[in-house]
C-alpha cells in the first residue's frame, strides 16, 4: 500500500512539473522571444487561464505527500528550510506578476512585472532542479530522522554537502534548460508568426545545449548515488523509464524539424516524465536517502502513515483525481487554439 502511494505522489509531482513547467518555461523565455508589448501579452495570454490550475497540482501533490508520508514532509521541509522559503517568495512574486501586469496600461508597469515574471521563473527552475539533485544525492539525516542543510559547504556531493554542490547545480542547470525547451514548445504551440518562429529557434538551440547535459547527468547520477544502479539491477523493467525519456528527447528534435508543434510539446512532456520517473524508480524504496548511515534513509515503509489512512485515502483520492483530470481536460479544450498577437494599435 505505501508503494502505491509512492507511485501516486510521484505521478502528482510529475504532473505538477510538466504542467507548471511549461508556464515557468514560458516565463524564462518571456523577455527573449517576445519583443514588444503585444507579443508579451500573447505569451501571458497563453498561460493566463491555466497557470493557476497548474499550481494547484503543487498544493495537491504537497497535501498528498503530507498525509501519506508525514515523516518525509516534516523532515525534508524543515531540512531545506531556507531554500523552500525562497521558493515560496518566488512563487508569490511570480503569481502576482502574472495577475497584476495587465491592470495598468503603462509601459513602465509592464516592463517591471515582465522582469519579475521572467526572473522568478528562471530562479524557480534552477531551485526545483537543485532540489531534485539534493533528493537524489541524499542528505545528512540524523538519528531522529531530521537534518538541516547549509546552503553550501565545500561544493562536493560528499557526506558534508550543502544544498549547493557541483552535482546539484548540474541538475539545476539541466532543469533550467529542460524547462526552457518545454516552455518554448508551449509558446510555439499557442502562437504563430514571429513569436512562434523565435520560440522554435530557442527550443532548437537549447536542445543542443541539453544533449551534453543529458549525457552528463546520466553518468554522474549513477556515480553520486550508487543506489540508482542497484535499483535498476533489482528491477530491470525499470529501464523503460530512461528509454521513455530518451525517446521523448529525440522526439522533440524530430517533431521540431517537421513543424509538428503539438507532437513536439508532448515529446517534451514525455522526456520530463521519463526523467522524473527514472529518478523515482532509481531511489525506490527510498524517499530521501541518507548520505551517511544508510540505515537512516527515509523509506516508503519508515515514514508512511498507518495503513487505515492509506486505505481510506484511496476511496476519495481516486474519484478526486478523476475529477481533477476532467477539469484540466475541460479547461485545456475550452482554451485550445492559438492566442493571437494583437496589433500594437489596439
Amino acid at each position: 500500500m505505501p508503494t502505491l502511494w509512492f507511485c501516486l505522489v510521484a505521478v502528482m509531482l510529475a504532473g505538477y512539473v510538466i504542467l507548471d513547467g511549461f508556464d515557468i518555461g514560458a516565463g524564462i523565455i518571456h523577455l527573449f522571444v517576445a519583443k514588444n508589448d503585444a507579443e508579451r501579452r500573447a505569451v501571458l495570454a497563453s498561460i493566463g487561464p491555466v497557470w493557476d490550475g497548474n499550481e494547484v497540482w503543487l498544493l495537491a501533490a504537497g497535501g498528498t505527500l503530507y498525509f501519506a508520508f508525514p515523516g518525509l514532509y516534516a523532515s525534508s521541509f524543515s531540512g531545506f528550510y531556507l531554500a523552500l522559503m525562497i521558493v515560496l517568495w518566488l512563487l508569490i512574486l511570480r503569481g502576482i506578476a502574472i495577475e497584476f501586469r495587465s491592470h495598468l496600461s503603462s509601459e513602465l508597469w509592464h516592463t517591471f512585472w515582465d522582469v519579475i515574471f521572467a526572473g522568478a521563473s528562471l530562479l524557480l527552475a534552477i531551485f526545483y532542479g537543485t532540489a531534485l539533485g539534493n533528493v537524489v544525492r541524499g542528505v545528512p539525516i540524523e538519528a531522529d530522522g531530521y537534518f538541516f542543510l547549509a546552503l553550501w559547504t565545500n561544493l562536493q556531493p560528499g557526506p558534508d554537502a550543502g544544498i549547493i554542490d557541483w552535482y546539484t547545480v548540474l541538475i539545476g542547470v539541466t532543469a533550467l534548460v529542460a524547462l526552457t525547451i518545454h516552455g518554448a514548445l508551449w509558446v510555439a504551440l499557442k502562437t504563430d508568426g514571429d513569436l512562434q518562429a523565435r520560440s522554435q529557434a530557442v527550443a532548437r538551440r537549447f536542445w543542443f545545449i541539453m544533449l551534453p547535459l543529458v549525457l552528463a547527468i546520466s553518468v554522474t547520477s549513477f556515480q553520486v548515488q550508487p543506489l540508482l544502479l542497484r535499483s535498476f539491477e533489482t528491477y530491470p523493467w525499470g529501464a523503460i523509464f530512461p528509454a521513455l525519456s530518451a525517446s521523448g528527447f529525440i522526439g522533440v528534435l524530430l517533431f521540431l524539424k517537421r513543424r509538428r508543434e503539438l507532437a513536439a510539446f508532448l515529446s517534451s512532456c514525455t522526456f520530463i516524465l521519463g526523467l522524473l520517473c527514472s529518478a523515482a524508480m532509481g531511489l525506490y524504496p527510498n524517499l530521501l536517502p541518507s548520505n551517511g548511515d544508510a540505515a537512516r534513509s527515509l523509506t516508503v515503509a519508515s515514514v508512511s502513515t498507518a495503513s487505515y489512512g492509506l486505505r481510506i485515502g484511496l476511496f476519495w483520492f481516486v474519484p478526486a483525481f478523476a475529477l481533477a483530470l476532467a477539469y484540466s481536460v475541460f479547461v485545456y479544450r475550452h482554451f485550445a487554439g492559438k492566442v493571437g498577437v494583437e496589433s500594437p494599435g489596439r
Binding site: G48, P49, V50, D52, G53, E55, V56, L59, A60, G62, G63, T64, Y66, F67, P70, G71, Y73, A74, S75, S76, F77, S78, Y81, L82, L84, M85, L88, W89, L91, I92, L93, G95, I96, E99, F100, H103, D144, G145, Y146, F147, F148, T305, A306, Y308, G309, I312, G313, F315, W316, F317, A320, F321, L323, A324, Y327, S328, F330, V331, H334, F335
Partner: protein, 443 residues
C-alpha cells in the same frame, strides 16, 4: 518561552492572518456573486450582470492574493512545525489534501471560466460557473475548518506506541461535532465582511454622486445580506460555539471571560483588564449573573474559574485572549446595530437619502475584518498551550532543527514582502473602485 518557539508562532500567526484577509472576502463575495447572477437571470436585467462583472474583478484580485499567500500556509506545516506534522500529518494531511483535490481544482477551473468565459458560455452556463466558484470556495473553507476543528477537539484518531497519531475514522474526522458551529460561524463572518465591503462601495458611489444606480444595488444587496448574516452570527452560531467551549475547553472560557474564581451566577464582564499576577479583573463593568445564564440558561449555574485549573493548563497569553474575544463581541454588536438600522431605513425607503447612514456604511467596512481576525485569535489563543488540544503542546510541535535566527530572517522576509503586497493590493482595488462598473453596452 524559548525564542525559536515564539518566532515560529509569530510567523505562522502573521502569515495566516494576512492570508485570511483575502479568503474571507472571496468566500463571502462568492455567495453575493451568485445572488447578483441569479437576479440577472431572473429579471433579465443587464444591470445585475454589469454589477456582477464589477465584483468579479474585485474578486479576482482578492483571489490572486489569497492563492499566493495561501501556498506558504501549507508549506509552513512542514518547514516550521515539523514535529507536529510528523506526529499528526496522517490525520490533518487528509483534510488538507482533500482541500487541494476537491476544492482548489474546482475553484481555479471555474473561476477562469467565470472571469474569461462569459461571452462564450451564455447566461445560464455563466450563472452555473458562479455557483461552482461558490461551492469550491465554501468547500475549501470546510476542509480548513475540519483541520482546525481537529486541533481544537481531536476525534477519530488512535495514538501509536511511537507517539504518532494515526487516523482511525475518516468519517469521524469529517463530522467532528466541533465543525458544525465553527464552520457556520466562520462562513457567516465571511458573508458579513463581503456585505460590508459591498455596501461601503455602494455608499461611496451614492455619496460621491457617481454610478448611483449601481451604488443603490450594492447598498441594498449588502445591507440585506449583512443584516441576515450578522444576526445569525450571534445566534445560533456564536451562542452554540460558546457552549461548546464551555463544555470542552472550560479553562479557555474562564480566560476569555477573565473569570479567576468559580462562581454560581457568574457575571458577564463588558469591560475590564485581566491581571494574571494578582488573579483578578481590574476596572470591571459587568452584568451580574449574565455569563451563567448565557452559558447554561440558568442564572445560578456554576462557571469554573481559572483558579480551578492548574496553571500549566492556562492559555499562555490571557490578556490577549481576553481582549481579542471582547473586541470580537463588541464589534459584532456594533455591526448588528449598523445593519439593523440600515435595513430599517431601507425598508422605509429612506436609506439612499440618509447621508449620515451612508457615511457610516462607507466607513464601517474595516470592522468585520477586525472582528474576524479577533475571532480567530480567540479560537487559536484559546487553544493554547495546546497545539492539538489535550494531545500535543505547542512547544512540542516546532521544527527542532530550524533555529531562531533562520526564523527571524524568514519572518522579516514575509513582513517586508507582505507589506509591499498590501500596498499593491490597496492600490489596485482603489483603481477598480475609482473606475467603477462598466456602463451599459449600447446594443
Amino acid at each position: 518561552m524559548d525564542s525559536a518557539l515564539a518566532i515560529h508562532r509569530l510567523q505562522f500567526a502573521f502569515t495566516v492572518t494576512f492570508h485570511y484577509i483575502f479568503p474571507q472576502l472571496t468566500m463571502g463575495l462568492a455567495l453575493l456573486l451568485v445572488v447578483l447572477k441569479t437576479m440577472a437571470v431572473r429579471t433579465g436585467n443587464e444591470h445585475y450582470n454589469q454589477a456582477a462583472r464589477f465584483w468579479a474583478k474585485i474578486f479576482a484580485i482578492n483571489f490572486a492574493m489569497g492563492v499566493v499567500t495561501g501556498i506558504p500556509m501549507e508549506f509552513q506545516f512542514g518547514t516550521n512545525w515539523a514535529r507536529f506534522s510528523k506526529a499528526a500529518g496522517g490525520v490533518i494531511g487528509q483534510t488538507l489534501a482533500m482541500e487541494g483535490m476537491f476544492s482548489f481544482f474546482l475553484e481555479s477551473t471555474f473561476l477562469g471560466l467565470f472571469v474569461y468565459g462569459e461571452e462564450r458560455l451564455g447566461p445560464r452556463l455563466h450563472w452555473f460557473t458562479s455557483v461552482c466558484v461558490f461551492l469550491g470556495s465554501w468547500l475549501s473553507g470546510y476542509f480548513i475548518i475540519a483541520t482546525d476543528a481537529w486541533m481544537q477537539h481531536p476525534v477519530g484518531y488512535a495514538t501509536g506506541p511511537d507517539g504518532a497519531i494515526a487516523l482511525s475514522s475518516l468519517t469521524g474526522l469529517l463530522t467532528n461535532p466541533w465543525i458544525l458551529w465553527q464552520y457556520t460561524h466562520n462562513m457567516l463572518a465571511a458573508v458579513v465582511t463581503a456585505s460590508f465591503v459591498m455596501s461601503a462601495v455602494g455608499a461611496f458611489y451614492i455619496l460621491a454622486r457617481r454610478n448611483v444606480a449601481f451604488g443603490q444595488t450594492f447598498v441594498r444587496v449588502g445591507v440585506i445580506s449583512g443584516a441576515i448574516a450578522t444576526i445569525l452570527l450571534l445566534f445560533p452560531t456564536g451562542d452554540q460555539q460558546g457552549k461548546m467551549i464551555a463544555l470542552n475547553q472550560p479553562v479557555t472560557l474562564a480566560a476569555m471571560e477573565g473569570l479567576f474564581s468559580a462562581e454560581n451566577g457568574a457575571p458577564l464582564a463588558l469591560i475590564g483588564q485581566p491581571d494574571t499576577e494578582r488573579g483578578r479583573l481590574d476596572n470591571v463593568i459587568a452584568i451580574p449573573k449574565m455569563l451563567s445564564f448565557l452559558t447554561y440558561r440558568r442564572w445560578e449555574a456554576e462557571i469554573k474559574g481559572l483558579n480551578d485549573f492548574p496553571r500549566d493548563q492556562w492559555p499562555d497569553n490571557i490578556p490577549l485572549l481576553y481582549f481579542s474575544y471582547h473586541i470580537m463581541v463588541g464589534l459584532g454588536t456594533l455591526l448588528i446595530a449598523v445593519t439593523a438600522l440600515s435595513a430599517i431605513l431601507l425598508k422605509l425607503g429612506r436609506l439612499y437619502a440618509s447621508r449620515a447612514m451612508l457615511w457610516i456604511l462607507m466607513l464601517a467596512f474595516p470592522f468585520p475584518y477586525i472582528a474576524t481576525t479577533a475571532g480567530w485569535m480567540t479560537a487559536e489563543l484559546g487553544r493554547q498551550p495546546w497545539l492539538i488540544y489535550g494531545l500535543m503542546r505547542t512547544s512540542e510541535g516546532t521544527s527542532a532543527r530550524v533555529s531562531a535566527g533562520s526564523g527571524i530572517f524568514t519572518l522579516l522576509g514575509f513582513l517586508g514582502l507582505y507589506a509591499l503586497l498590501g500596498v499593491l493590493f490597496l492600490f489596485l482595488i482603489w483603481r477598480e473602485v475609482e473606475h467603477g462598473p462598466e456602463p451599459a453596452k449600447t446594443a
